[in-house]
Symmetry: C2
Subunit: 512 residues, 2 copies
């Protein structure tokens, strides 16, 4: 099958049911009903606190072939996924599907369990390092499924991704399962991704290093969704969970990209009182936050809300009254975590509220402007954020597809070259976000507006930025670095990249 | 069929599928999965705000035979139910099931539409006045179903009560459907009952008299659950929605009952640091709050949380630090509404979090002490709160069954006589709450402990209250007022009273 962006999608992919080719950002109309977890009876004053992860595994009835899930708010400080998988392996349970909201380098520890067959399938937003290589090399029994944050929420809620047991790291948890992410030594802030798992998994285990007396509030995940609680010594390494406030880039190229991006916003027609914005956590995005702040102050404009993975520059804007409210699905640094704890204008949201395309409207549907990064982009404005120049998985889709589709203005920032590699090319190796949902590509050499957005191109004529066609950008890149050879791949599909609506936008084939 | 408390339940009841006799408070084990609403696609920047209720009715696709729901937080000030049913009637739609969280006297306005066949079935927590009479007289096409607040949440979540369209009064609502109950001229406080409807109904219409710019927070019901929004002039009469702080009773009989009840709590073994409590909104309950407050101050005891329909005495205890936190499913007065808005220790909760027996544990499961009222009680400690001395529906089950089952100590307060009618009798006309879940009956003449709770009886020996057997209380009542004649009823079942788990605890037959 050839999908709507011209990618060949095999009609059969091992381990993937009901393959639907991508047909446009809002072309697929879903049917059916949301699913739900099994119905149970929990008697008054029942005991949910168990002694060990092993005991919890037994209590959940986890068996060969089931699906387990985790959330990645602990980022590179996560201990939970690794210790649970190790405990499952010790019990001799095999052939599990691992469905975390994402994977980080620290999760490389589970590679031996993948090799031993404890984990034989993975569904994730992405992977890096050795895990990324392993997934690309097609060594899993089943094809890896890559989903955006909104797509994962959708898949869980409609039952496509059925979670048998969710193991959720809880920075603070009471004795009946109410949890939040803002207290305790392993505070990570928002529990936005985990909220979906908790609401739909058949069994939910809270693993905590900060068990508190009942009742704990505010409640991010309620007792009504939690079956068991396991206190442990530590669920994460605070240094890996959250960094201090990130230093703003001094890289002149990043600063130039940030300047072009903010100027593009300024002239786009969307830079109005009460506009809304999501910024990424990359260097250029963080720098853009600084420039945008200055422009907002100069012009007396404030934003109605800010979205996303939250970083300190956003918190500064909130604290200075430049943004009225922040909606937070994940925190990247300590200032963000502290802000969510203390500031009522800093609201936690679930991945479904954030980005699920198949509810009554996620908040990305109300987003004006998003700045997104890219590994590579192509002349059709398609964006790759998942595979590197060797075709190896080294990133994550995250909210890229979701915000690009939802935002009125989606800006992708990328250097024109990385080392000796052009980043604007004829065809990206892997399409994560379709060009139809990308409005502007900003590089240090020039800014290209998607021809679908003549209105934008007109607006930007006034701006003092080097507008050019995307083909010109590609030509400059090729001139400097040469046209890259295509990555040679086998027929073997290692991973399928879902669009947020559950259709397949691309597949990742094993490189030769 | 004879159920576990000896009530005869017909094997066939018109309009009720899958009849299960009550078999004990935790004897029924549920199966299956939670259900969910239909899955839809909502495109970015779609318009949800419609011009009229008629337009919303059209947009939802409401048809003959469907089920509509409402919430009763506006109490006797509710305009929403009446105006929506009138609009539906004008459209010629018929044969609907009306499934509000409860009905108030103000809803008598819909009686003509019941008579015309617009509404032919009702599922509610209760009814009063003319509506109660109408339901008792068996004039509906289908049998009325009476459910507790927790039972209703359960029925909605498991699909037994499938709501096609929920019409939710929204004291504050933004243009994409985020709503809360603490702002606007019709503020009612918690939207706890409506949260369940919003999460499970196929279509959700927010009707608001306070439409605000996007985004509104705090969010009680999220945009992800709301299909349409209709701004109207007024959704309620503030005078009917919330009273000022209620005056504490000066009725010496109520004060005596309150005193016995609080003394019983004091000696029960549950009056400990960090105990938890729910108080009703009746006169004796409010008086009990005052006495309890004094005892807590004297003994230096504070409560970990308070629950329920919230009233000003509770707010005073919260503000004075006697209760650490309040969990709120409904507000009865202005101080309570204001407290929920401003006090982070005053948490809103859904009816499912409050009392649904079939989730991972509602908060009633952690409740130590509840004081409940009663219309009549019997020597088996069964409680009637729904029918009067003529067998006519004149009350609501509310959270009675739920808190009695959940609390470690459930105290029922009732006068021994009302006028010339004994309130402790051989057999209540309608069992709402099974005696097995009732621990103490407190009257102005004496206090009876359920023989199942020998531990409690032992603890109360020390207390200076007139302990007696329940039969003694009955005998005193009969001595004063005579043994009442049984209410003569026909074979016709007008209403079925569900226990919170979905089994039938009793039926209400049409009086002769």
């Amino acid at each position: 099958m050839i999908n709507a962006i011209g990618r060949e999608i095999p009609e059969n992919i091992a381990g993937i049911k009901n393959i639907k080719p991508y047909s446009g950002p809002f072309a697929y109309t879903p049917a059916g009903r949301l699913t739900g977890p099994t119905i149970i009876l929990n008697k008054p004053r029942s005991e949910k606190v168990l002694k060990s992860i092993e005991q919890a595994i037994d209590a959940t009835g986890l068996k060969d072939g089931m699906t387990i899930s985790f959330h990645h708010h602990f980022r590179n400080g996560d201990y939970v996924l690794n210790m649970v998988v190790a405990a499952i392996a010790r019990k001799g349970i095999r052939d599990l599907t691992l469905a975390p909201s994402s994977l980080n380098n620290i999760n490389e520890e589970i590679i031996p369990y993948i090799e031993q067959g404890v984990i034989t399938a993975i569904e994730t937003s992405g992977a890096r390092g050795k895990l990324g290589k392993l997934l690309t090399n097609g060594k899993m029994k089943k094809t890896t499924i890559i989903r955006s944050h909104g797509g994962r929420a959708r898949a869980i809620e409609c039952g496509e991704l059925h979670i048998d047991v969710a193991f959720l790291g809880a920075p603070a948890c009471d004795t009946y399962g109410n949890m939040n992410g803002v207290e305790g030594k392993s505070a990570c802030g928002s529990l936005g991704y985990a909220m979906v798992d908790a609401a739909y998994a058949d069994k939910v285990v809270a693993i905590t290093d900060h068990l508190v007396p009942y009742p704990l509030y505010p409640v991010s995940i309620p007792q009504t969704q939690v079956d068991y609680i396991v206190p442990v010594e530590a669920i994460g390494d605070p240094k890996g969970i959250a960094s201090g406030a990130l230093r703003i880039s001094k890289d002149p190229r990043e600063l130039l990209i940030a300047q072009y991006a903010t100027t593009a916003i300024e002239y786009s027609g969307y830079f109005n009182q009460d506009y809304s914005i999501q910024l990424g956590s990359g260097g250029a995005s963080l720098a853009a936050a600084q420039f945008l702040k200055e422009k907002m102050k100069q012009q007396g404009i404030t934003a109605s809300f800010g979205l996303g993975g939250v970083t300190a520059p956003f918190i500064e804007m909130l604290d200075e009254g430049l943004i009225k409210a922040i909606y937070d699905v994940q925190d990247f640094d300590i200032p963000s975590i502290q802000s969510m704890k203390k500031n009522a204008n800093h609201q936690e949201m679930s991945a479904s509220f954030y980005a699920n395309p198949h509810n009554r409207g996620p908040i990305v549907n109300q987003l004006d402007v998003v700045i997104l990064s890219a590994t590579e982009v192509d002349v059709d404005f398609n964006v790759n954020v998942i595979t590197d120049s060797n075709g190896v998985i080294m990133g994550a889709v995250g909210g890229h597809q979701d915000t690009a589709a939802g935002a009125a203005l989606s800006i992708v920032v990328a250097p024109l070259l990385r080392g000796r590699l052009p980043m604007v090319i004829d065809q990206v190796h892997t399409v994560c976000t379709p060009g139809e949902t990308v409005d502007i590509i900003v590089t240090e050499r020039g800014v290209a507006v998607n021809p679908r957005r003549k209105d934008l191109r007109d607006n930007l004529r006034e701006a003092n930025i080097p507008l050019m066609d995307i083909e010109e950008l590609r030509d400059i890149a090729y001139e400097f670095a040469g046209k890259p050879d295509p990555i040679l791949v086998s027929d073997e599909v290692a991973a399928a990249v879902e669009y947020r609506d559950g259709t397949l936008i691309d597949v990742i084939r094993k490189p030769l």
